[in-house]
């Protein structure tokens, strides 16, 4: 992993530390989980599998599930990658996260009526 202090020369090939890579991976999973749960709940998924049935409860339960899975993913990836010096590059993880955080929530709304 680069430890240089130059602001530009290390940009692009800076290796992501295992913990940073685990955080990026967890955040990316968090984004896609929003998409999956949203599609599941809006496309007639089994309501009994929801944590609780009220409308706002669905929303809170969905967020809670995303947080718990995201945190679990962080600790799993951090443990798996703990022996490695670097996991991918910071730039590659950033691109993956940015694309996921834009595409996943929009895909999650697929098929919703605009209603205006």
């Amino acid at each position: 992993m680069s430890t240089g202090t130059d602001r530009t020369s290390s940009a692009g090939n800076e290796g992501a530390s295992p913990k940073a890579a685990a955080a990026f991976a967890a955040a990316t999973i968090y984004m896609w989980l929003e998409c999956i749960l949203r599609l599941w709940f809006s496309k007639g998924g089994d309501a009994y599998l929801r944590l609780w049935g009220q409308r706002a409860g669905d929303i809170a339960a969905m967020w809670l599930a995303m947080i718990v899975v995201g945190l679990a993913a962080y600790f799993v990836f951090a443990a798996v990658w703990s022996k490695r010096a670097a996991v991918g590059t910071v730039r590659a993880w950033t691109v993956l996260l940015v694309v996921s955080a834009i595409v996943a929530p929009l895909l999650g709304e697929w098929g919703q009526a605009i209603g205006i």
């Binding site: 240089g4 602001r7 009220q54 706002a56």
Partner: protein
């Protein structure tokens, strides 16, 4: 929770929740503006800036969580069709407001209203990652171009989503609930 009167204004629980929601939104915007400016202009010799960045990123995450919760809690009453109703009598006439799940849905539809509710989960996830990166990389935020670029990308993305979702929220809470005369 009871409603309180201040002169011609009556402040009920929904108004209080919305007020708190707006204050936390302001807090988020202040923290994000500081973080964006500080990260953008940070130089390797600016190591004393790191504690401020850490505090700002943590405050930003906490304000974001409070913003989410104050946005979720008033939503509980929507399913009962009693989300917002009131009468304001002034010298200029009688103004009524009545917003229920049905008529909010009729205006915004599942796409916009549900998008505001569900896509908003993306933003605290980004705020948490931003906070983690600041605390994890410390002074390298000011030193390393790749880390700085990652932080700015997350900040811009977070600001973009906040802008979209915040405007949908403003439309629902400020435009649709604007009193009308009868």
């Amino acid at each position: 929770m009871v409603a309180y009167r201040f002169g011609p204004f009556e402040i009920g629980p929904h108004t209080m929740w919305l007020g708190a929601h707006g204050v936390f939104m302001l807090g988020v915007l202040v923290c994000v503006a500081f973080l964006a400016g500080a990260v953008w202009f940070a130089r390797p010799e600016d190591r004393k800036l790191v504690p401020a960045l850490r505090v700002a990123s943590l405050l930003n995450l906490l304000a974001m969580l409070a913003l989410m919760i104050t946005g979720l809690v008033p939503d509980i009453g929507f399913e009962k069709g009693q989300a917002f109703s009131g009468v304001l009598r002034t010298d200029f006439g009688v103004f009524r407001s009545a917003v229920t799940d049905a008529n909010v849905g009729a205006f915004t539809g599942p796409l916009l209203f549900d998008l505001m509710e569900h896509v908003s989960f993306v933003v605290p996830g980004l705020a948490a990652l931003l906070c983690f990166l600041v605390w994890h990389y410390g002074r390298r935020v000011a030193e390393n171009g790749a880390v700085r670029g990652a932080m700015l990308s997350v900040l811009i993305l977070m600001a973009g989503w906040v802008l979209v979702i915040g405007n949908l929220g403003l439309y629902v809470t400020k435009v649709l609930t604007f009193p009308y005369t009868r």
